[in-house]
Assembly symmetry: C2
Homo-oligomer: 176 residues x 2
DNA sequence: CTCAGATAGTTGTCACGTCAACTACTGCCT
DNA sequence: AGGCAGTAGTTGACGTGACAACTATCTGAG
């Protein structure tokens, strides 16, 4: 009656949602601070580098980058701007389709992501993994994945009807 | 080797953390959109109203509000500014300690939080609860609470040594 | 009493991300 | 070919929150 939604939904479910918000806020703040002070990278910037490093061609179309980062197109533009200004990422034109711009990992970017690796790993360990058993992790991951799939399925910003047609995120070289 | 931290930590743990980030992003975006379009309230604004409504005295010191919202002092000031401008919250002076300002729920604020209640509940249901079993919820909540406690324990912005001394969030009337 | 240090809140300035409008390019349709 | 709808990316204006500096007040040591 005074704590929040209680009549139309289970109190536990509301609390679980609140806990998700709080845990996310606390954990990301801590991990981001550690990453920022050690490597000078924000979580978002690091995510870009990791995604690029994880891609076969070491590059991503801006569009696909926005998609995997769950970020707006303009947010992605500005994020890549910052990384490019710092020399960690390079923009490459696509010769097959001149509307397309690739964000590619520079060698400095590769070094940065490698350097961040162990720092981030230990930050995650301290703020996250450390507090959970293997079983907790497995269950948590299962629940989170189900949430993700349930919500990605419909109603998200991106995923226009043409999405399946875009095929692989990277194809056709940009500079070679 | 190319997906992210893999040598110093279990891959599953890194993935679980990634899933936490993604699930949070997707779910809060969806829920916030629904709340915003139906009630004109952001999630943060709603949180303020819920906290105030949940308080015994229907009021909170700015300081304590910042604390429970996991927000900076200035962020809280501006959040309350917006709500006050819209008439949902009133600032009250504390006569016992004139440094202190209370944020108090106005009657319009009470109506707003009641109105938002069912809308938010169904949004949470659709984007969150719906995808999880009772057992999932219980386990998830347990894990999240453990994460929260593990991280709140030390190293957070607030919680200066004087924290326990501040006692109850509200005491001494503000206007009566 | 008085002054130094701590505490509560607000304000200036900035970083980051959003939406909407814009440019540039592609590709279909006639 | 010409034109137009659709797509990729960038830019302008803005909202929100953070940090640091500031004001005002309280408290305790002398």
């Amino acid at each position: 009656m005074k704590e929040g939604p209680g009549s139309t939904m289970n109190q536990d479910r509301f609390q679980a949602w609140m806990n998700l918000l709080q845990a996310h806020a606390v954990i990301t703040t801590r991990i981001e601070n550690e990453l920022e002070t050690s490597c000078g990278l924000s979580l978002a910037e690091h995510q870009v580098l990791v995604r690029l490093a994880g891609s076969v061609e070491r590059r991503f179309r801006m569009y696909d980058l926005a998609d995997v980062l769950l970020l707006s197109k303009s947010g992605t533009t500005r994020l890549v701007d910052r990384l490019e200004k710092r020399g960690l990422v390079t923009r490459l034109l696509c010769e097959g389709d001149r509307r397309v711009v690739f964000a590619a990992l520079s060698s400095a970017g590769e070094r940065a992501v490698e350097e961040a690796h162990s720092i981030l790993a230990s930050a995650i360990e301290r703020s996250f993994s450390r507090h959970l058993s293997d079983e907790d992790i497995a269950t948590l991951r299962g629940s989170l994945r189900r949430l993700l799939e349930g919500n990605e399925a419909w109603a998200d910003h991106r995923c226009s009807p043409s999405y399946p047609a875009r095929a692989a995120p990277s194809r056709r070289a940009g500079s070679s």
